[in-house]
């Protein structure tokens, strides 16, 4: 009996991993071409953007918040990088022109993304606007700014170097997968091994108790939303570089995929409970599902329906297990 219980515990603990493996096995059998080296890297490359966003989203959700603006911030940051790199900044009034190198343009885009995240945090901590509302507003604001900046048309022709980040390989692994892995590694260490990481869990678990224990709750939240913005900008860099162009509609709806990844990964929307590793599994599950359904030629509309049900299933299983305990 004890053995059974232990087995069950392991089953519960690794349920996302098992679900992922199960999906891989099923698609490998059913979908011809799924289990191949090419498709392996394709899936990982597609997952890397969502992983960037989802890692930031995990931090936000761990504090008990939500960030709906990451898709729009991704678009604006990408557009700024592309626009500055290609056209520079012109101030006709002062007869001034500033040109940007690639690193300069990327830095500028990352700064804008971080700032918008910081602005989210400021609204949430200073003016006590609920995260849902504050970031919903930012979703519209950043999207509008993107359209203004691009004039509603894609910024294209960015050259080979810009594209390298999104299409290049290093030591047999796509650059974007390296980027994503580095981010994951850093955030993992931060969450497990730094005071800030511990405080993120404390704030989400019980904000009042955290405050009474002397934690600067506002500063922690501010930082978390800033990081989410910065990681969205990294996502913007990858997307822009991959397509070698910045479109005003880039990243549309990505916030939902990233929330889905976090939720499938077992992080509680009420905060305080969850992990980045779970989120990565969540992102992989979504990625594998996308890929498998495409190879099986499931019509795109049906893909959405199926994806929705997978989210429900994942959370329902999770809830059933916690209820038993």
């Amino acid at each position: 009996m004890l053995e059974l219980k232990v087995q069950k515990e392991i089953l519960v603990r690794f349920q996302s991993l098992l679900a992922l493996l199960l999906m891989v096995v099923i698609f490998s059998v059913c979908a011809e071409g799924f289990f191949s080296k090419d498709n392996f890297w394709l899936v990982l490359r597609q997952v890397s953007v969502n992983t960037c966003l989802s890692v930031g989203m995990t931090l936000v959700i761990l504090t008990g918040g939500i960030d709906l603006s990451v898709g729009s911030i991704l678009a604006l940051s990408g557009a700024i990088m592309a626009g500055l790199f290609k056209n520079g900044l012109e101030f006709p009034v002062f007869n001034l022109f500033i040109g940007f190198t690639l690193p300069g343009a990327v830095m500028a885009g990352l700064t804008v993304g971080s700032f918008l995240g910081f602005f989210n945090g400021l609204m949430i901590t200073r003016f006590k606007i609920p995260p849902f509302v504050a970031t919903l507003a930012m979703l519209t604001i950043a999207r509008g700014l993107t359209e203004l900046w691009t004039g509603g048309a894609a910024i294209t022709g960015l050259g080979k170097t810009f594209g390298y980040l999104g299409t290049g390989w290093f030591l047999g692994v796509p650059i974007q997968v390296w980027t994503c892995a580095a981010i994951v590694a850093i955030v993992l260490v931060v969450l497990k091994k730094t005071r800030f990481g511990r405080y993120v869990y404390a704030v989400g678990g019980n904000e009042r108790a955290a405050k009474l224990s002397g934690l600067n709750v506002n500063r922690i939240k501010l930082l978390v939303y800033t990081i989410a913005g910065a990681l969205a900008a990294v996502g913007g860099l990858i997307v822009t570089s991959k397509l070698n162009s910045a479109t005003p509609t880039a990243g549309d709806g990505y916030e939902l995929d990233s929330i889905a990844a976090v939720v499938i990964g077992g992080t509680s929307l009420s905060g305080g409970k969850g992990s980045v590793l779970g989120t990565i599994l969540g992102a992989l599950i979504i990625g594998v599902l996308n890929s498998g359904l495409i190879i099986l030629r499931v019509p795109p509309f049906w893909q959405k329906v199926i994806k929705g049900f997978v989210i429900l299933l994942a959370v329902a299983i999770d809830k059933l297990n916690t209820k038993e305990q």
């Binding site: 955290a210 009474l212 002397g214």
Partner: protein, 521 residues
């Protein structure tokens, strides 16, 4: 074992026979018998973990799997769910009330059973009328249209009782009904219970406070470790008998604190004020001043709403914008604008509500202990699990925290051990002053005594302690000096030799209470 009077058996409405209930191999209830009599207050006492809550959950249909029988009006009965128990006339009033704050009193009383008019709309006129009738029966004269959120806790409790009565309840289970209400509200509640008795309602009354038993109970049943220790009519037992049955050994008199050497004044506040958040010009804390010496326990006594908690919160920097006053540490004036400031100055604050304010429940024991002083578990800028475990292990041993390991989730600990974890968290910050707000609320007798011993040890080590308590025997046993608050004002100060229960209570009762006494709340 005490034997029940056989002549009363006719009046038994509810009977539990050798009820056993097992959770994951551990017996929460082991062959417990209980008899509930019509028109009586049937008290159940026992330490935390004695099985009281589990027994109530069996009786109210929350747990459906158990061994043994429930007999209602002479018939064996099983409840498939709580609703069935309700239909059979059994209602429970939980410690945490189950009302919806933004609905009116009437809407709460008839929630899910609203009267519908012929047009298919809610018949408010009838609902208000019926509610008013019910409330009158309970001697609560409030408008059934007002929102529950604007009522005091004691009034809300009565609304819950009204809800129970509206269901034709014959057995009302009350789980620690006096834990959150003022002395005055307790009196009103007891009057109400007495009147329910005469109406033939059976009351099952769960409590920690033994003094209450002798005021209100007709019989008492004692549980310990899931087993029935004994039942008796209240006239046949003494306070000490019950305590002995609860803890299973003879207890000495109330805890006696060792006297610590009191040296110089370390901490004082002068003219602490906290403005009322809504009523302009009104104060929740009104010019309070006191001093504490190292090794001394200053007791703060006051009834609900006296501003005790708010005073501690103000000192701890939780209301910087609406408070004023001066805080001195070792004679030097200091500024406390946030909890962080307070902690840096060596002030710790053990809050009244463990679950809402003290702990992050899903954290481990180790993480909970290190939370307020995490920097000391850092090595090369990164958290070290080894250092954290050492820190936690040290306090687990020192405070005798009962936990399988420091990795245990703190939510799974008993109330007393959770409280010790919180104390450990503050001791880890190396405080010089500890503010304790009702540190023994809702924990069992043994755990209480351990907390007292701990407080005593801390004063020996030279800490200055400010302790809020609403239990008179407790504050008189622990404190060296006592300050009494009433309606935000400091109304008296006693040294231990001057203090008597009567004097303290007299100083604590607000003037407004005396005027509008009894029946109306």
């Amino acid at each position: 074992m005490y034997i029940m009077d056989q002549s009363k058996t006719n009046n038994i409405v509810l009977q539990a026979k050798s009820i056993s209930k097992t959770f994951g191999g551990i017996k929460a209830l082991d062959g417990v018998n209980l008899e509930v009599y019509k028109g009586q207050v049937n008290a159940i006492v026992g330490e935390n973990g004695a099985g009281k809550s589990t027994l109530m959950k069996v009786l109210t249909g929350i747990h459906q799997q158990y061994d043994g029988q429930i007999i209602l009006d002479g018939h064996i009965i099983t409840f498939a769910n709580p609703k069935e128990a309700q239909k059979n006339g059994i209602a429970i009033i939980h410690q945490e009330l189950n009302l919806i704050p933004y609905l009116s009193v009437a809407e709460n009383v008839f929630l899910g059973r609203e009267f519908i008019s012929r047009l298919g709309l809610i018949d408010y006129k009838r609902m208000y009328g019926e509610t008013r009738k019910l409330l009158e029966r309970l001697d609560l004269h409030i408008n059934p249209r007002i929102k529950v959120s604007s009522l005091r806790i004691g009034q809300q409790q009565i609304v819950e009782i009204a809800h129970a009565l509206s269901l034709d309840t014959r057995i009302v289970i009350m789980d620690e009904p006096t834990s959150a209400i003022s002395e005055h509200e307790i009196k009103v509640l007891f009057d109400l219970i007495r009147s329910l008795k005469t109406q033939g309602v059976a009351i099952v009354y769960i409590t920690h406070k033994l003094d209450e038993l002798f005021q209100i109970a007709d019989s008492v049943t004692v549980l310990r470790d899931g087993k029935l220790v004994g039942s008796s009519s209240i006239e046949d037992v003494t306070h000490d008998d019950i305590v002995r049955m609860m803890v299973g050994r003879d207890i000495k008199d109330f805890f006696v604190k060792a006297d610590a050497a009191k040296s110089e004044e370390v901490f004082s506040v002068r003219d602490m004020c906290l403005a009322h958040p809504r009523r302009h010009g009104d104060y929740v804390v009104d010019h309070v001043s006191f001093t504490v010496k190292a090794g001394e326990v200053l007791g703060l006594f006051g009834l609900m709403g006296a501003g005790r908690t708010e005073l501690l919160e103000t000192i701890f920097g939780l209301h910087p914008k609406i408070s004023s006053g001066y805080i001195f540490l070792n004679g030097r004036q200091v500024k406390v604008n946030s909890p962080t400031d307070a902690i840096n100055l060596g002030i710790g604050f053990i809050t009244e509500d463990r679950k809402l304010e003290g702990l992050v429940l899903q954290m481990s024991v180790a993480s909970s202990i290190s939370l307020a002083s995490l920097e000391q578990t850092e090595r090369f800028g990164l958290l070290s699990a080894t250092l954290e475990t050492q820190l936690a292990q040290n306090y687990v041993e020192r405070l005798r925290i009962k936990t399988p390991s420091v990795k245990q989730i703190v939510e799974n600990l008993s109330g007393g051990n959770q409280q010790k974890v919180i104390i450990a968290k503050w001791l880890a910050t190396n405080p010089r002053i500890l503010l304790l707000d009702e540190p023994t609320r809702g924990i069992d007798v043994n755990a209480k005594n351990e907390i007292y011993r701990l407080v005593s040890e801390l004063t020996q080590a030279g800490l200055a302690i400010v302790m809020v308590s609403s239990e008179l025997p407790e504050i008189m046993a622990i404190a060296d000096r006592i300050i009494v608050l009433s309606e935000g004002k400091q109304t008296a100060e006693f040294t231990l030799s001057q203090a008597t229960e009567e004097l303290i209570m007299k100083a604590a009762i607000p003037k407004s209470f005396v005027l509008q006494h009894s029946s109306t709340l």
